[in-house]
Symmetry: C2
Subunit: 129 residues, 2 copies
DNA sequence: ATTTGACCTGGAGCGCACTCCAGGGTGAAT
DNA sequence: ATTCACCCTGGAGTGCGCTCCAGGTCAAAT
């Protein structure tokens, strides 16, 4: 189970955008904001070339963002990668984020049940018309 | 299972904020944006007094917001309440929103599993140190 | 009588996460 | 030779959902 093969020269920014589900603007924005583990290589003409590891990291970024971690916090997390032996700190951030996500999930599930009830209410109401 | 009793005169804005979990500023903002079913009554001196039905509606607003429905869409939904026989339309909005929420939930759950895996990875990594 | 605290309004300001733009470069295709 | 598609940068602009503020009213407490 590999992701779509990535050539040795790396992907262009638009290709990386496509596979990551982000836009090219967002990719450049994330890089500017220091969310990338390493800056992608450049072609001789100065264009970004995303290696497989870059693309994998983009997946991590998407995962963190889509679970609601703010840019600021992601930056803190990424910064730890530059510090030797920071694994326990990174772990702590992930665990705390996981708790956050779980709680969020619980809350949304509760609200979802309320939506279900409201829908049931409308269903019987509309039916009785 | 009633909510905390609400006096006949209604709640002040700060009390309504407390029970709804919103801030007084947000309450006024929602009203300005037309998200309230009816504008709350006013005391003789012009202060808002939230009746039980107002407070219940605030609960609905919180539910919709916390499940990610944009203000704009909530307004559309509320506007339908002013239209006779719009129940099917309201139902449709709720059902479509429910699908949205479910999908969102699925996505976050998937990402949560990825977080779990990353945490496991760190746990073994840190353990082996 | 005045102080206090909660409330009012209209409107400005803010933080976030993008998103867009101008002005320019590069290499392949026609 | 020029057209085209795609890329580059720095920086401005946008939409959202609040949040804050100035300047004022009012009723109860001191």
């Amino acid at each position: 189970m590999t992701t779509t093969a990535i050539p040795a020269e790396g992907l262009t920014i638009s290709a990386a955008a496509e596979v990551s589900g982000l836009t090219v603007d967002t990719l450049r924005y994330y890089e500017k904001e220091g969310l990338t583990l390493h800056k992608p290589e450049r072609s001789t003409s100065g264009q970004r070339r995303y290696a497989e590891s870059d693309v994998r990291w983009l997946g991590t970024l998407v995962m963190l963002r889509r679970t609601g971690m703010p840019i600021r916090d992601i930056r803190r997390f990424v910064d730890l990668y530059r510090i030797e032996g920071s694994e326990p700190d990174r772990l702590a951030i992930l665990e705390s984020h996981r708790e956050h996500v779980r709680e969020q999930l619980r809350e949304v599930q509760t609200h979802l049940e309320a939506i279900d009830r409201k829908i049931d209410f409308y269903n019987t109401k509309v039916m009785n018309k």
